[in-house]
Symmetry: D2
């Protein structure tokens, strides 16, 4: 065991999990047909169908941005609109990739208080779009992030409500599941119960943050909906000649429940961290901790001292006009209890004697 | 040593070279900042500058299509045209990726007899474009493949002539170097002498076909020319969170000349295959074999018999109106002399007693 | 004189002004070279340079959407962002045309209380973009509407402040001047004083709403900034073969100050309408009336009665959660005092005895 | 009557026909709802259905480029390919507009000897596309020009053969009818017999070259095929607020057969010109004259002398390697017999004593 890990900046700074690295090495046998015509990719499809209990189509891609942008391109024509939360990765963190891959479809970013979308957030804009016709884009998709960008998780009822609203208005439901494993771990349900059984049409299934090297997948639960997807993936420069090495990662993640064990572990570490932080003076959790991200306000002096200690994390924008300092802490499949406890001990030292912050 | 390899279908069906797999495993140490802010990516830049003797910028991407399409997007605005050979990968094998990433720039595909572009092939179309102004796209780039799609290699003078024509007409020179290693190995020159010293502005440097797992790079020899490239790469879904694993592959390929040894070996195997085939009755090489691809005409019965033996290769379209049957054979870094000799022996058996084909 | 005009729905429902129709008929002499190589287009450029006192480039197009989308395409690369007010025409009324013509640049829509953008509205998002680098689009343009979508007009100082903020952050300033004439009429300044002298880089100059048949223009005050514009216009399907008939309209509008007289007249009619409405019980003007649009709240019964009378106008969305009913009334170059007085008399009848609405 | 017209450069240099100008002036009555919700547009649809004997949808746009690019965008998704002749307007004269409006679909330009496409020209490329799958674009459309760019006209059987090939391969048939009137006039059939009865799915119906001011139309013979077209037209900046003035032009052209009389007249003038030229020494017609364009080779001295006389026409690229000089002469609805005879007389003078050119 190596020394303590001080890096809580993201779950994408982590190593490749040993089971997944082993699968990559194992896939390096002889020649294999390119572009997905290989046994690993075939097994991946079979395995994903088992895990999701569904006759789905699964397409490996290299990045979460690729998964989201290609999924949306298949669901939304260029003259269409895509509902999303204003904090969504597709809206704030992908540098316009959805606009590129869709050919200029418009993200209709909706602000909400809790980071989740609900039908009532969309009613007015949907009605306006219907009235205004060709003068504004035609809404075609609801894209939701599960877990959300704020580390919270939609309940099954909340997802189902969005899907029903979607069906009533001819909107497909896309789930950005960069942290799907964390969400399913929190919900304690099956992969199917967290996705298509609730009405999700397409899932961006994340593996990279969860122990893979570089592997995400676009999953269409209704294969009919993916008619042009293989062309789009190729044209989107995401069809790998040596596909087996990407498929092998996803297969290793999905087989034997590794993805879910990783999700549960990361969540457990986040809970441990949250519980410890809540006990410290001057600290406040900005959102309920349901997955593996914590948004924490604490005094600037403590933040600086933690950075001095060598800890790594991002600062987050606070509400305009407030003096609150917010940091984001992310746990991962590889975070150990000792790493968490080390952070808590350090934070405890720096916060000792502080008063509880008033908001 | 495993059994003989019967797969001559492409250099992308091969394994990952052991040095490169070792580098991937080696990179799996502790946490590392994402998106290229890691030591492997930093070392890659330093190493590429050494290898190319140039203060270049190098950007890892996942596929050759991504390298080409993103490079062209940086060089050609949407209202521009890109000269290429009608057999170019960007024209025939990328499903419109250049059109997607450039925002609709137009490939101006030029047929030539020998698979190479030369200034005289472009003069008339360039003059017409100048005369016609806004009624047709504005040519902005010459994209050449080195080695070409037909397994031939431009001489340094041929490249230089294209670059000079380009400079005279405000055209940038892009080199699709999916098989750059094979070309340099054939030319017997340095990487610099095969690229920027001849006037190449941007190189798509291929590693996947040459022993990597999934790693290509876009190299701008003049860093000023890459102003928006990092935005484009992110937006193009090719900025990897765990970049170190892609950079490590490229670093392993470039360090200690592995890329060039691989290129030389693949070429040598192609030469051995060519020499053997030329000695057989009824066989004809369609193009000079200068890199690692052979286009071979032979009687249909022999082709069928080789396929029956378990050999793998692609058929290639013959000239319309002819009865010639053409197959493509590709050697790679991993092809062994025994593999070649096995193929030659089998072909010899099937061709025994054939007359020399008349064309 | 025909009967009273009951149509206050938009300034785009009006006739072509007689001077402009005469110019169209007058242009129908003999043959003329196509695509703008004609005397009318030449004179238009000379005339626009006089009116704006500037060595500008002016490009006729067919619609306001074309003017905006093409102007933005020239200013913003596909990986860029464009600041605008959330009520901007480019954001709400053009069905994604800016996204199409720019190749997917992202509109960064900012809500503000008064319908105008100010530097302080952009500071936080601009700083965030600088920090986040390639993970979000690169802001490149501020697009403002003058007059605004709410019928208000930026003061010269407000425009100058935006331009200065832009210069400090490498942002170009685009003015959507679909109702530029109304704004200049309100400001009582020259065309130059309302545009480039304040730092505006590119103006969408509207004529259709102001008496033309179908003619708008994109004006680059610095011709160097329009390098690719002519290609973009052609490629954007806005280069007319019989250009003279579009140029003649713009020429007639700009010559002898017709455009400004029209703007003044429409504004005067809006003022007259505003004054009359303010005197009526139960009526409230939602915004200051500075150009030719009025947003008016009044009791639903009165609205219904006016519609019964045959009046034409649009309903406007009220603030969510309120019961206020809002209508938009638009005056034009062709609105007569009698038309206004007729509306006021009708409204007066329907509102007689109403109490003043409480908000 | 004015003096002789010396301008044979294009049919787009002509005036607006008096009937069409009268219709524009006539449409300038009172207010009218914008964006096509006006009586003129309604009548246009009814009239077009009469003329084409079909329950079609007709959409006015401003330019032929807009008509083609928007039609193709509706028929071809971004990952698709569009077959066309290498001389097609969409391929050579629209500066990439189809690529812009389709979001990067690829034109598959096919050379043929006579300027027309035939199924046999497409068989090999269609088969290759089927075999290669996602590695190349998916052919979705055949776009043919009727009349062709070389002034020839497809026979009904030739059109039908293309349509049948299309149906067999899931390809829609688009007809670029910038000179549809000339083609129908040549064929001596009805509009229906020249279009949907032969299997044409969508027609770009040209009026501008045929006497309109600036009006083209996209006609979908099967309205189900135009599902997103209205959004695309708006987003493509081709939805006019004062639509009545564009619709009125098309209505005037279609009513009472004006379009066809114009087409017949222009063709007759072209025939007269062709007959006269053929009688002159040293002159050769490069293609059969079936519509209103002539491609004529003649000695350089005569060309120069005609230009000296004040005649206007374009030079055309000759076959590389030949010394032939080629000019294009275009007649129009407004060309008079005296104009033709004047040209013939002048040419006769300059060619007197010349020998017949040897080819």
């Amino acid at each position: 065991m190596t020394g303590p890990c001080l890096d809580f900046s993201s779950d994408n700074v982590t190593q490749v999990a040993p089971e997944i690295m082993a699968a990559i090495v194992e896939a390096n046998q002889g020649t294999a047909h390119g572009y997905g015509n290989d046994p690993w990719t075939e097994k991946l499809t079979a395995c994903a169908r088992d895990v999701f209990e569904c006759d789905l189509a699964i397409y490996p891609v290299a990045t979460g941005t690729a998964a989201n942008a290609l999924a949306l391109a298949e669901l939304a024509a260029p003259h269409c609109g895509i509902y999303c939360h204003e904090s969504a990765h597709i809206q704030r963190d992908e540098c316009g990739a959805p606009e590129l891959f869709t050919g200029g479809a418009k993200l209709l970013a909706v602000p909400t208080a809790d980071g989740r979308l609900a039908p009532q957030d969309l009613v007015a804009i949907q009605e306006a779009a219907a009235v205004r016709g060709v003068h504004c884009v035609k809404p075609a998709v609801i894209s939701m992030s599960q877990a959300t960008e704020w580390g919270t998780v939609y309940t099954p009822d909340q997802v189902r409500a969005l899907a029903e609203f979607g069906r009533a208005h001819d909107l497909r439901l896309h789930m950005d599941g960069a942290r799907f494993a964390n969400a399913v771990a929190h919900l304690g349900c099956t992969a199917a119960e967290a996705s298509w059984k609730l009405g999700v049409d397409v899932l961006s299934f994340g593996a990279t943050k969860n122990g893979a090297m570089g592997a995400e997948a676009v999953i269409f639960f209704n294969r009919e909906r993916a008619q042009a997807f293989e062309y789009r993936r190729k044209r989107g420069a995401q069809l790998f000649s040596k596909m087996r090495f990407v498929s092998a990662q996803l297969l290793a993640a999905l087989q034997d429940g590794l993805w879910l064990r990783h999700g549960r572990h990361a969540n457990a570490m986040a809970s441990r961290l949250a519980q410890g932080l809540q006990a410290l003076p001057g600290v406040r959790l900005m959102h309920e901790v349901q997955a593996n991200e914590l948004f924490v306000s604490m005094p600037e002096e403590a933040i600086e001292a933690l950075l001095q200690d060598g800890y790594s994390f991002y600062r987050w924008p606070a509400q305009p006009g407030t003096k609150t300092r917010i940091i984001r802490l992310v746990t991962a499949w590889s975070t150990r209890e000792a790493d968490v406890d080390g952070f808590l001990a350090a934070a405890g030292r720096h916060l000792a004697g502080k008063k509880v912050a008033a908001f």
